[in-house]
């Protein structure tokens, strides 16, 4: 059985409230993450500049010997 069904809650969380919560938490989270990922592009767009992706940090050369 699902863990949530096992919990003995005295408050009825309400089905609608659970779903909105999921949407709200997920949505806000993903907007945050998307904004973070695309922040460079967004900034560049509003500044009217060309977006230059950041150079990935150079990994140490691990040559196999």
């Amino acid at each position: 059985m699902h863990v949530i069904l096992l919990k003995l809650n005295y408050l009825d969380p309400g089905s609608g409230s659970l779903l909105v919560q999921l949407v709200a938490a997920g949505l806000l989270g993903s907007i945050g993450i998307l904004t973070k990922i695309f922040w460079g592009r967004i900034k560049a767009f509003f500044k009217g500049e060309k977006y230059v992706p950041p150079q990935p940090a150079e990994e140490e050369d691990k040559t196999e010997e």
Partner: protein, 461 residues
């Protein structure tokens, strides 16, 4: 003995335990069913962190006999709360601070593997000027993936009234007096301005969309909900989002009755000072421990009580005056003074199941001293309350009373009488003394310098 006989009416819903009173002391019984959560509360450090921050009421484990031994795990003796107040008696910033505290507590709990299983505004009380969570049994063990069961309650108890007060009208916080489990979200959604529905703003999500979803899924079974899994990070997002929605909500008093009362009264600065000294003298004569200052405005004279260490409630009908008072207390860190919104012509009633969940104002008394300064004329003339009835009310509230009599010759009373017929033949100083003489004896009577008013110190017979 009936195990229920000592139980206090407000704490019956939660099966984790309940409050009981024995020999004048309040205890909290923790039931067996809550033993794991209680131990986790202590061992996880949630209790220590929150009590240290002043966010949760401290308690000691007591050895008294439980009120219901069959169910009992432990008995706690929480630190006493000086006065229980209710969200419909709070000013805007009091409700907002209580909301932010609830979110902060949830976040701290979540970081340590627990969560708040309810988010009732009634679990918050103001102690020494600050909001504190008083329900030690509100914590549950957090299970990865579980949603926040109290989300709906939080929106109903806090977000909806704050949004309505801020964006529509401060008086809508009084809806909390009608709806004991918070303002229904569909009602809040209908009352809020249309612009709050736009986009993905906090109010659009947590109120409008929330209300629609409730309607849509009102009768759908849990199987729907059982599919809901939500990560801890997402839950923290939700808490952040609620905080970001509440933080910018503001209420600034504009054009209310008393906003600048003291600059528009009959009192000069000197007269205010000597009135304060007179009040202080009376207070010292009876040295009360607890007091109610009724019609306290922004608490100017309440401080004659609280600065002497008297635990004082400063109530006023005007939310602006109460807000001003609370903000002053917050900035100076004053203790002993709790401002509340209260319409004395219709004070908070006993409410909830069997009239016993929320106490009426008088049930939360009596106190040692009740103070009614510049109030009698409002009750007697604006509200047609006979002076004998005013005396009865004050006598049921306290043993001592400090009452200011404002005669008809006073310009404030003239203003009240300007628009109506004077049907108050007995509204004179002599009439006042006669009306009060049945229940009170006069200990002191002094004219207030620089005014036509008289200050009385009365003792109940």
């Amino acid at each position: 003995m009936n195990p229920g006989s000592e139980r206090i009416g407000a704490s019956f819903r939660d099966p984790s335990g309940f409050i009981f009173k024995r020999d004048g002391v309040l205890y909290r019984q923790v039931n067996q069913s809550y033993s794991n959560a209680y131990e986790k509360l202590i061992s996880s450090g949630v209790y220590a962190a929150l009590t240290k921050a002043g966010a949760l009421i401290p308690h000691t484990e007591s050895t008294v006999k439980p009120a219901d031994p069959l169910l009992a795990y432990k008995v706690l003796q929480p630190e006493p709360v000086p006065f229980i107040s209710y969200p419909y008696e709070w000013s805007f910033s009091q409700l907002k601070d209580a909301a932010l505290l609830t979110l902060a507590v949830t976040r701290t709990a979540l970081e340590k593997g627990m969560i708040l299983k309810d988010a009732s505004a009634y679990n918050i009380q103001f102690i020494n000027g600050k909001p504190v969570l008083i329900d030690t049994l509100s914590f549950d063990i957090y299970q990865e993936g579980a949603p926040w069961d109290a989300y709906r309650q939080f929106c109903q108890h806090f977000l909806a009234p704050l949004a309505l007060a801020s964006m529509v009208d401060i008086r809508l916080t009084q809806l909390l007096r009608v709806y004991i489990d918070g303002i229904p979200l569909d009602l809040a959604s209908r009352l809020l301005p249309g612009k709050t529905k736009m986009g993905l703003s906090g109010l659009a999500l947590h109120i409008h969309m929330h209300a629609r979803a409730q309607q849509q899924y009102a009768d759908k079974a849990v199987s729907q909900a059982a599919a809901v899994k939500i990560s801890k990070a997402a839950l923290l997002n939700l808490l952040n989002s609620l905080e970001k929605t509440i933080q910018p909500l503001k209420w600034e008093p504009k054009g209310t009755e008393w906003g600048n009362y003291y600059s528009a009264t009959n009192y000069s600065d000197d007269a205010l000072k000597s009135k304060g000294m007179l009040v202080g003298k009376f207070v010292e004569r009876v040295s009360p421990k607890t007091a109610w200052d009724l019609g306290a405005n922004n608490g100017l004279f309440s401080r004659e009580l609280s600065k002497r260490g008297v635990v004082t409630i400063a109530s006023d009908i005007d939310p602006a005056a109460v807000e001003q008072n609370y903000l002053a207390i917050k900035s100076t860190g004053e203790r002993c003074l709790l401002p509340l919104v209260m319409d004395l012509t219709n004070p908070s009633p006993a409410m909830g199941w069997a009239h016993s969940e929320r106490n009426s104002l008088l049930e939360r008394g009596p106190v040692d001293l009740v103070m009614a300064l510049a109030l009698i004329h409002h009750l007697a003339i604006s509200n047609n309350v006979p002076l004998e009835t005013v005396a009865e009310f004050l006598a049921s509230a306290a043993k001592y009373a400090i009452v200011e009599f404002v005669p008809k010759s006073d310009s404030q009373v003239k203003r009240l009488l300007a628009t109506r017929k004077d049907i108050f033949d007995r509204y004179t100083e002599a009439g006042f003394e006669t009306a009060f003489s049945g229940l009170f004896e006069i200990l002191e009577k002094e004219p207030i310098p620089g005014s036509q008013r008289t200050l009385y110190l009365l003792r109940k017979r």
